[in-house]
Amino acid sequence: MSKTKPINVVCAALFVGIILTFTFYFGITSLTDNRTAESDTVVRDMTFADFCESFYCNDELTVLADNIDYLFFKSIDSKDIILGDNNFLFDAGEHENGYNYLYDYTGNATLSGSELRAFSNILSLRQLAYENRGVEYLMVVIPNSQTVYNEYMPSYMGELSENTRLSQLSFYLEKMNYDFFFNATDVLVTAKEYGRPLYNNTEDSLNSLGEWYLYDAVRTKLEEMYGITGGLVGVSSLDLYTRSTDGKTLARRAGLESIISNETVSLSDSEYTKYTISSYYGTMVRTELTEQYSEGSDDVVLLEFTNDWDRILLMPYFSNTYSQVAYKNNHQFSGLAVDNLKPTVVVQFIHEYELYDLLDSNTLLTYNAGLGLDISSEVTSPPLLISQCSIDDHTVCVAGETEANSLITVSVDGKVVKTERAIGELFFISVDIGDSKYVRVSITAQANGKDESTPIELLLYSEKDAKEKTVAVGHNSELYSTDYAWMSFLSDDQMMAVREGLEQKISRVKQLTGKDTEYLYLIVPDKLSVYSEDATDELKEFLPTLNKYREIVKGVRESAGMTVIDLLSDMKNHTIIERLYSQTDMMWTGFGAYVGYHSLISRMSEKFDSVKVHELIDFSAVTEENVGGELVTRLGLDGAVISEKYLTLEQAYEQRARFEHSGDGAFDITRAFISYVDDDTLPVAIVMRDEYGTEMLENMADHFSKMIVLREGEFTLSDELISEIKPDYIITIRCNGELS
């Protein structure tokens, strides 16, 4: 037998040690990591599969492998990310809009002559749409990080091409004297020389310092071009500090966020702000310099972004500079916002990688509409197309503006496929394009007593993977919700339980108040029930179910002793007078709410002589223009882009009631409040309301000596409250009613 070598003993021992270390480590991991939902401490039986899983799905090992790749080999496990010098990561992938960073950088994605012309036409259109409303315009392009920091690109990528799309476009537009197009590359390249970082090294985005240079350049440009002045927020006055954070987007994509830190320059949170912030038309934000700082210029600046990150970083600079600044998170034209805000200038920011988005047809349509209708006395103005969107795999909805109540006709190859009427100036029309990806249609409009307009050509396209929208485009431009998931029918036993519960409640209320307190249940009908004649066939088939539901609600409540007021017939009787429901929402208009108010108070006046209903003559009618409602949002359109005009009623009588709100927000749905009228002959009421009740409250308040308004579902009707105020009425206002 040969002599045992010490090195072989060491070798065997080390091998056994390595194997057993892993055996125990992964064995224990597989036993302890697979915890059940019921308890964190339950240990389950181990199987081979668990054991293997604890190894192959081990995050620590995966991170370790990424660390080794990066630290030892300087390799990144992604072909879409370039690891540059100075720990810079550059995007080399393809953007959603088809933009390829790498091809553009190397000059392999140049714009053709026709594309350059298309860009210039679109920019002209944008500028013209604003100019027509007396607003100046500036388009600012934020360059990619590799455009500014191209010296950090690895040598194999070569020099930055002179034929990138941005440089091509800048050169072309400069030749055409488009001075409202501003490429910020030179500004940032110059600023880079000061030594501090302007971009995040792990994301294609500017940091606070980079955004400041952008702000400074835009501010100077606005002053030079349009004479718009504002107090400069000097960089030396800012509390900017350099810090390291976990790697951002690109580092995360490479799985290296914990390894490659992001070196950035941030603005201190404690930075002094001289402005107030408020929301504006839903998604927009508006800031105003406080009085002590707002001397001098009263210019209003509207800034439009495609990236919220830029807005957040630029806000402290611009808002501290101009008396009023509004921030919008898209480039779609909103005549409503422009008319109301009356900006001096609109500045649109776009990134170099988003240039192709300028050609987006939906955005383009909004500018087209922004040019306004060309009204003549004999021929109808061509319709202004605002947007198109897919409702499902084969149906496209076209939205647009036209002359009042025009007849809109859609034709394909000269054959009429659809004819619908607009509601006021706004039309929505659905077109079935079948399995085709694209269909070219021509659309004409014909107003009453005028000749048909010249046709507008439009290429309809379907988004094959678009999520099905819970909205239906009915006939004659009517929009309906198709979301009836809330509707649930109860079994007989459950109904019995509900009825018994209500009976007990009513009896208890009478006991607590010591009088014949009446429970009034006001059912506001669904828009579909009132405007059923224009509904789609599917919705018409569904209508009996909806009506049945309302009838059941009515039956249960009435049998329990409640007084139920179903507004359906009243509403139907008033449809010919004025719009009762918003075209772009499920909500009723001010006029619709008046009908509800009238029915409710009329019923009460039968019992209380002192209750006198305000008739229509007590109101003045006013046309209001509002942002598009929820149905428009569900279609994927910006509510600020599609505005709707409808009639609303303003009190011409003197309001007797005074209100006590719980904080700001007037009749906002989340608020509880009390109203008082100094007349003891009037009844006392507690009102439980949903959103539909809000519009009625101001008018209702005049008919109660005391009215406590609570939101249904948020507040409960306590015994203490009932016994304290002893209401004559407990009124519930609900759309479609509620069974449970």
Binding site: M1, S2, T4, K5, I7, N8, V9, V10, C11, A12, L14, F15, V16, I18, I19, L20, F22, T23, F26, G27, F48, F51, C52, F55, Y56, N58, L61, T62, L64, A65, I68, D69, F72, F73, K74, S75, I76, K79, D80, I81, I82, L83, A92, L102, Y103, T106, N108, P154, Y156, M157
Partner: protein, 465 residues
């Protein structure tokens, strides 16, 4: 359950070794048989017909051996060879064309082993074994996944000379560690490099990347085969049974025949002994000059088909065999043997031919090498090349290639070199080598294994045994 799976390395192997060394020596052979049977059952647990086939073939082989010893029938070898080859072909065809049927893990090796057992007995080279020895030969798991193919008459000797010492165990450990590093750290990373270059360049890399891709594949396939075989031999050695290594310096070959003689030595010997020599005798070419050329060509085709039974590989192997045949009959082989200066030419010819063969196996297409060569230009104009730069930037693949080239002489000729050194230097280098090897082994486990879990599922990413 392959050797590279964590279930094998961290559960089956330590438990089996512990049980083996805690068992008295006289029972260890029985225990090894039980472990081997258990290994096969677990390895094929999701392919129950395979377990049935294995059990049936093993038992029938035992009885066929007894019959062969009694019959003395001249053509028994031929019948045995035909039956086992037919089974091999049938299983491979069923694997390809019958839905739900999977080729039994290790099937190729134990079918050849079964044939060897019966033929050796019928040739009177050995006598029928006891049932435990016969079954252990058929089921001996360390050699069953990917070789080496061991002839029964040799296995008898190995098992009789089994040694259970620390030195033997350590020798097994070293081979196992070498095999794991070859298979997981080198073969997988190099194969990934090959795939990335082709995929990201849209099959049109520039000259440098094109050649690098071919080199990566060439090295990868070698290290894949060498890795499995070394792990198998290493495990056998840990259990006290010393089987010769199956791979030699195949990458230094300057003729295709030499490459195949060195990469599957056990299989080459098996084919020569049981197939080619009898065929040569049968067609009365034995001893004639052309026999050598024909033997080489046949060896190439049969080994290539054993590795990957596909039309693309068959066609490409035929081309390689034809070239080898021409080199042999023209005396070019002999000329390179005698004149070292000509060997680089032979090396490059072999490099491209063998690379083409394995590329056909990987892509299941004959033309892939030719397409790649025709699309390569000195400077690629297609901008896809930038993506190649991105994925190949950093040192991962280049360092792996350099490591592979450095590892090669150590793996192939380490023992020979060490033996020629003075005792003290040998001891020091041996110690350093062991530490480096085990460090690489540990790094391979934590770095490579989690990244390439598919190699714990399939014996080869592309080649099925």
């Amino acid at each position: 359950m392959l050797y590279t799976s964590v279930a094998f390395m961290f559960l089956v192997l330590p438990v089996s070794l512990a049980a083996f060394y805690l068992t008295p020596q006289k029972y260890r052979r029985w225990l090894l048989l039980i472990i081997s049977a258990a290994f096969y059952i677990f390895a094929n647990i999701q392919n129950l017909p395979a377990i049935g086939i294995l059990a049936t073939v093993s038992v029938l082989t035992y009885f066929a051996g007894k019959l062969a010893a009694r019959a003395g029938f001249r053509y028994f070898s031929l019948i045995a060879l035909t039956v086992y080859t037919a089974l091999f072909i049938a299983f491979r065809l069923m694997h390809t064309y019958v839905e739900g049927f999977s080729f039994p893990l290790g099937g190729a090796v134990w079918l050849l082993g079964g044939a060897s057992y019966v033929i050796d007995i019928s040739r009177k080279h050995t006598s029928p074994a006891r049932i435990d020895d016969a079954l252990l030969y058929m089921l001996f798991f360390p050699v069953m996944v990917a070789g080496p193919v061991v002839k029964y008459k040799d296995f008898e000797k190995y098992i009789a000379e089994a040694k259970y010492s620390i030195n033997d165990f350590a020798a097994g450990v070293k081979l196992f560690a070498v095999g794991l590093v070859e298979r997981m750290a080198l073969a997988t990373v190099l194969m990934e490099s090959y795939e990335l270059i082709l995929e990201t360049s849209n099959n049109a890399p520039n000259l440098a990347f094109g050649l690098f891709a071919i080199l990566s594949l060439f090295l990868s396939v070698y290290f894949a085969f060498a890795g499995w075989a070394d792990m198998g031999v290493g495990i056998a050695r840990m259990f006290g049974i010393a089987i010769p290594r199956d791979v030699g310096g195949a990458l230094f070959s300057y003729s295709p025949v030499m490459y195949f003689e060195r990469i599957f030595m056990g299989l080459g010997a098996w084919l020569e002994d049981y197939v080619i020599t009898p065929v040569m005798k049968f067609i009365r070419l034995d001893g004639k000059p052309i026999a050598k050329a024909l033997t080489g060509a046949l060896t190439i085709i049969l080994i290539a088909l054993w590795a990957d039974f596909s039309p693309a590989v068959f066609i490409m192997a035929s081309i390689v065999a034809a070239v080898a045949f021409v080199l042999s009959v023209t005396g070019a082989d002999d000329l390179m043997d005698s004149k070292r200066i000509l060997r680089p030419v032979g090396f490059f010819v072999t490099f491209f031919l063998i690379s083409g063969l394995w590329m056909a196996g990987v892509s299941d297409s004959v033309s892939v090498l030719f397409e790649l060569l025709s699309s390569i230009s000195v400077v690629a104009h297609d901008h896809h090349i930038y993506y190649v730069y991105i994925v190949m930037s950093g040192g991962k693949y280049f360092i792996s290639t350099v490591l592979a080239l450095l590892f090669l002489p150590f793996s192939c000729y380490g023992d020979v070199i060490l033996q020629k050194l003075p005792d003290k230097m040998r001891s020091v280098l041996e110690a350093v080598g062991v530490i480096i090897l085990l460090a690489l082994f540990a790094v391979t486990i934590v770095y490579c294994l989690p990244q390439y879990p598919e190699h714990a599922v399939r014996a080869f990413e592309y080649f099925v045994f």
